[in-house]
Symmetry: C3
């Protein structure tokens, strides 16, 4: 990693997005994450850095992996983790997001992790609380810990990010994962392309410094890393994609399309996968090519690093 100007402490109060973070901030979190990867490998005792600290997992959208990953990460550091999910919450009673924020704030937690279906909701909430806030996904906007764990996975296999050619493929328009990854990869010196049908690529995307491709053959040429996105079936109303079958034919990753990329190209996917939609089942299961479950493992380490960095002593 480009280690100029290493930081001793993380300089920000919140982690709301990757956009605007400098390389030294990203490297601080990635360096710390790598330490926790080693810690998890040794399956050692729990740490007590966050003993007596309370973190709240506030999820307005369902999630297995992200919520569980944060909960595990917090517990490994000795924190008390409280889960609040919208299904069992008084948000349904019509309370505003700001009142929820101020109510939780009055309980004096040490950190709040928030997932919300609206872009910007997590930032709004962060302005009303005294503690640090981590964005665990806000609508189509950002999902910063996903981009960090993707970067950590790439680093573990390719040793560097600078100079790599990375293609992000699929439903770019609705994807917070795409947006966070574009910011992170650009900031750390990768060349980023997006590939997908014109209906799923927003027009303003080139302002983010990416090259746009509408077919996999051209887009995957000389690519080191392929980030496949989940086709958000629940968000589709038929107007974006003619049919699942058609979609897979043109944009689903299989061996044939993979051959367009470099011979050692690595496949990432944020999960959960739609097998046979955006990725071929046989390819998903080839753990030499696909780092999908590595990403999950890296996710716990990244969340440990973010919690450690943001919870005040």
């Amino acid at each position: 990693m480009n280690g100029i100007d290493k930081l001793k402490n993380y300089p920000h109060k919140h982690l709301l997005g990757i956009e605007g973070l400098l390389p030294n901030s990203l490297n601080f979190l990635l360096d710390l994450s790598q330490k926790y990867v080693k810690f998890l490998e040794k399956n050692s005792k729990k740490l007590d850095y966050l003993k007596n600290k309370t973190c709240i997992n506030l999820f307005f959208e369902n999630s297995t992996r992200t919520r569980t990953s944060f909960e595990l990460a917090g517990k490994k550091l000795g924190a008390d983790m409280l889960n609040i999910s919208v299904g069992t919450s008084s948000i349904k009673k019509g309370e505003t997001l700001i009142d929820t924020a101020m109510t939780l704030n009055a309980m004096q937690p040490d950190l709040i992790v928030v997932r919300h279906n609206d872009a910007g909701a997590v930032k709004l909430l962060s302005e009303k609380v005294n503690c640090g806030v981590i964005n665990a996904g806000d609508g189509p906007h950002e999902h910063p810990t996903q981009a960090l764990l993707d970067a950590l996975t790439i680093l573990s296999r390719k040793k560097t990010i600078a100079g790599l050619k990375v293609a992000i493929c699929g439903d770019i328009m609705h994807s917070r994962v795409a947006r966070s990854n574009i910011h992170l990869l650009n900031t750390l010196g990768a060349e980023v392309r997006v590939i997908g049908p014109a209906t799923l690529i927003p027009k303003e995307i080139d302002s983010l410094g990416v090259k746009v491709f509408y077919n996999m053959k051209d887009g995957l040429k000389d690519i080191d890393i392929i980030i496949m996105l989940r086709l958000q079936l629940e968000r589709m109303s038929g107007s974006f994609v003619p049919s699942i079958r058609e979609y897979f034919r043109f944009y689903g990753l299989d061996r044939e399309k993979l051959n367009y990329a470099k011979p050692d190209a690595l496949i990432l996917h944020p999960g959960p996968m739609n097998r046979g939609v955006e990725i071929d089942t046989e390819l998903a299961d080839d753990l030499d090519r696909s780092a999908i479950f590595d990403q999950v493992r890296m996710g716990v380490a990244v969340r440990m690093a973010c919690l450690k960095a943001l919870v005040k002593k």
Copy 2:
């Protein structure tokens, strides 16, 4: 506080309601709560008074703040907290409340916190278990920890309860918060008034020792404390209130109506608020007049005190 006849230990097994509790019992809980307010201010290490103890949060109704408040309170004292919510419970399978009680009892918890939508359900459950039970709200009956945290909030601003004039405003009929507060405030020597439309004030209410007012101008005269109740929109079928707009005009608290009260009158609200229904948004946000988020903070301290008082050594 009127400190005659101070208690060394809390004399009751359960906390099912405020009705019937003597001043020394209430003062015992409030004194202990004040210690925990200071503990929370210092944001110290966790305590271990309830180490090795298991408390069950059994919620038949959704709740963010009350459930989270008890969970936090228990963890601050070192207890293991288990959450059971009706959405994920076998109650749906048709098990009776008594069987649920006896089943949980057989698991030998040290305390059970219960919220239930039927008045009396928590008492029924308490008769079938060996451990202490705290009522976290039973239908329109009682919500004792809410009344205690309201009292604690009043004490923190006014130093005493005896002699204060307190108005409880809004949907008195469906409110367990009103009922618990009336008992507590009367017992500790305040003068209590209720204000609301005739359709939302039960006829028997004067037997509880309160004065009834049907308009805010008369009811708020010389008042020290205003407790605004949540308009339970989900319970309304149109027959109690002509329209939300009409309701706010006559009973919603705004600057104009606030002027009827004493110049330093304090506003409480159990939350979650319906802004623009029972309280004006600008007033809710004036933290000099409105103690709404203080109440949440006091809530954690009160629940710590109640857990500590009721869990057997």
Copy 3:
């Protein structure tokens, strides 16, 4: 217990079912459970055998008692317990069971407890993870910890299982409890009968080594233990049982039918009970005859034993 060939360590990685387990494996778990029964009686401090270990409760079906029982058991041993329920999980997003398994595996838990509505799903999941897996009920297939806690309850009252006559009554066809109990009781030398209407007894059942009875009078003759099954009302479509009233008349346990059994016959029920359907309310409440709440207490001890036996040091 028949103590020949006592084991020092539990020889299996998973606990997927009772079928195929040898007497010494069953006795290992039952011996250890009996130690934990004594531990729970003394209501001692928590143990720390599973300190720094993480167990995941993965429930695809709702459950109060089983989920809570495992959570309590784990906490008594010092483990961190994580709950994942299908209602708040990405399974709904269409992820396959195998991907869920591999995702959780990548988070490196020390044990996974799984309940699933399909027979065989837990075994499938266990093949994709590195840690031990406990089946907490898979469709109509097996529910091994229920059979173990039933055995422990029988042992606590009758001192032995070998030679006892046990009748399992009711909806045999849909019952994982019946299946696990038949295997366990046969293996430990009891004589097992099943009793129920022909529509609720699968034809192949005699291959499991049980005698089939279609009426309670004959089936209960000389019986020591009666295991009443829950009538799974939610699974019934009217075709299995003419009416609840008719069912109770012929197969619901009451004092009159109980008289067919031995005078000291003991009644078990896995809960939650349908009072007035499979068991008379007055009989359910007679704690000399009915061991229903003893079973719950034994359940915590059995789950402690299973967690202790399966989590790797």
